[in-house]
Symmetry: C2
DNA sequence: CGAGATAGTAACCGAACGGTGACAGATTGT
DNA sequence: ACAATCTGTCACCGTTCGGTTACTATCTCG
């Protein structure tokens, strides 16, 4: 499932928790947090800390994957991008020297 | 890329940011946060709030997907699970009535 | 009906977050 | 050498998070 907002995440967590037959206390305990925290997260609290979120997801055996949408989009010019020596160097250094007009 | 820790996430964000040729200020501004925050997140800060993380990922055109690892694992018994009327009802109610011995 | 379990909410409080501004180090280009 | 850029760090501060505890409402089952 694609996650776009904290609400999405909360809904998914709740979905998974209930499907596993766990109550809020069980999950909170397993994730090393509090029930209050879980309630708020399941309601879509955007202020929840990523570390606790990750622990909760792990407790629910949920995997998270991130992926770059557009491959690179150098300067948003439709130009075809043939791999050249400079792009290779840039990839290695991961820091474009200039704006590469 | 699979995300397991805040450090994984920070590394991926930095990777994507540099590959897009953005500096910290540019991304922070686009995501509506501060450069200090970005620095800490890229270093793997577990206390970062999920809402800001999501904004940053959106700014970098990064998609997040979550997925339940094991389909259901009713009681962790290797028993094969043929879909029966009860499981369907449970799925709808999303709340197992009992421990379903 | 009544006991028990689950979930949502409230108040309180210490700890940590995030923003701002400034500074130092490193790197790049002139 | 110099200026410009980018990054990491620091101190300060208002806001908010997360834990604890208690109370209430809802639902299930005996």
């Amino acid at each position: 499932m694609r996650i776009r907002t904290a609400t999405d995440l909360g809904a998914f967590i709740r979905e998974r928790r209930t499907r596993l037959g766990m109550d809020q206390i069980a999950l909170a305990k397993k994730a090393g947090t509090s029930r209050k925290w879980l309630v708020e997260v399941e309601q879509g609290k955007p202020g929840a800390e990523i570390g606790l979120i990750l622990r909760a997801l792990k407790s629910l055996e949920i995997s998270i994957d991130v992926e770059a949408d557009s491959p690179v989009e150098t300067t948003s010019q439709g130009k075809a991008k043939a791999p050249d020596i400079n792009s290779v160097l840039d990839s290695l250094k991961k820091r474009p020297l200039k704006k590469q007009i």
